[in-house]
Amino acid sequence: MTLPKFELHRPESLDEALDILASSPGAVPIAGGTALIVDMRGRRLSPPVLVDIGLIDRLSGVRIEGGEVVIGAATTIAEIKESDLIAQHSPLLSEACGLFASPSVRNRATIGGNIAYASPAADTAPPLLALDASVELASASGRRTVPIDRFFLGVRRTERRDDELITAIRFPIPAEGTEGRFRKLGLRRADAISVVSAAVSIGPPADGGRRVRIALGAVAPTPIRARRAEEALSAGPIDEGAILAAAEAAASEASPVSDLRGSDWYRREAIRALVRRLLRPVVEGRSDG
């Protein structure tokens, strides 16, 4: 099967890319192509113009900048998985990238594409939500930064305007002693789309409680934060009772659909199990649990 016809631009600078996006109606960025090419081949999409962002140097790589971890939008999932900086500051993102698709897909797929595509099951989304990440957007007319929990609007719908590119994802370096983990359940043990996924990040105890983030994937039209579950843990000791309450809250915050991969009932059950499992070792590994 062939791909629909399109024009392909391969700009080498960001400004050039933004100009094309601004001036060509219907133009769409292409990064790794692992989502876009599949959709085009299936004739679900046929954009007239593609803008390949792969030659823009500045868009890839992981760096530290002013107390923040900054990941260029065109950084591949494989690069993030292998990155020492990421392993050091956000092991939950390393884990998520390790469980993402297959090695060959990871070598092409980018984090920007994963977020922009806005699948409810996007595997980097729960870790990024748990890390309080924000999304850097640029267009010919300006730049803005959107917190990731406001970025996703619905299935495949985001805050991003058509003329904008995601240039980077950034998040504050988590405080010393923060623990984070990610898990996903798929219908097979490798190369599977998440039936549900979850990420937690728990900060060290501090005055007035602790920073708790619990984020879920594939259980609502967008990846979500389970805020009531977070509250159940933010004050008081994290014991078995608190963990069960958090798991229960997370399940009730989800609004999953029934589809080929699982019923809404199963997804809720799975969230309970995942959240419990993510929390227990986090707690066991620390003194205040």
């Binding site: 016809k5 392909l8 192509g33 081949r41 390949d52 792969g54 297959s102 090695p103 060959s104 897909v105």
Partner: protein, 161 residues
């Protein structure tokens, strides 16, 4: 849709082709005669089309040919031949890792990608490295053995590629 001439270095040989942008690397490789690169799904699910692009394992069905402009591509037939097989290819043939053979070229490229960065992989690492390459015939066991055997042979003898 304009055509453009792109340059690909395929298995060590420079090739120039003129083509429109909506052609995948898989398609252009097969059209140029590199039919060892197989089409099993055309959407990233099977790994039959896997090649090394600048040394990295990719599914050629998910790369636009233009995106490979100026880059190096290695396919199974570039790794070795009947007369001069690569140790990975020998190991696959010797361990019963090849049944119908349709997954084999992609598997071999996944193996090459693994052994290039990890010359002595554990079974788990091998299984993970080939997890995007489906094989319907073998149940993978003999493939995993072949990869381990290839690692041993390369360590013992000198990698020709």
């Amino acid at each position: 849709m304009d055509e453009r001439t792109i340059r690909l270095k395929i298995n060590g040989r420079e090739r120039e082709v003129s083509l429109p942008p909506n052609v995948t690397l898989l398609r252009v490789l097969r059209d140029l005669g590199y039919v060892d690169v197989k089409n099993g799904c055309e959407k990233g699910d099977c790994g039959a089309c896997a090649v090394l692009l600048d040394g990295k394992l990719v599914n050629s069905c998910l790369v636009l040919a233009w995106q490979a402009d100026g880059r190096e591509i290695l396919t199974a037939s570039g790794l070795g031949s009947i007369e001069h097989p690569h140790p990975i290819q020998e190991a696959f043939a010797d361990t019963g890792a090849v049944q119908c053979g349709y997954c084999t070229p992609g598997m071999i490229m996944a193996t090459k990608a693994l052994l290039d960065v990890n010359p002595d992989p554990s079974e788990e690492e091998i299984r993970e490295a080939i997890s995007g390459n489906l094989c319907r015939c073998t149940g993978y066991a003999q493939i995993v053995e072949a990869v381990a055997e290839a690692a041993r042979r390369i360590a013992g003898g000198g990698d020709s590629g």
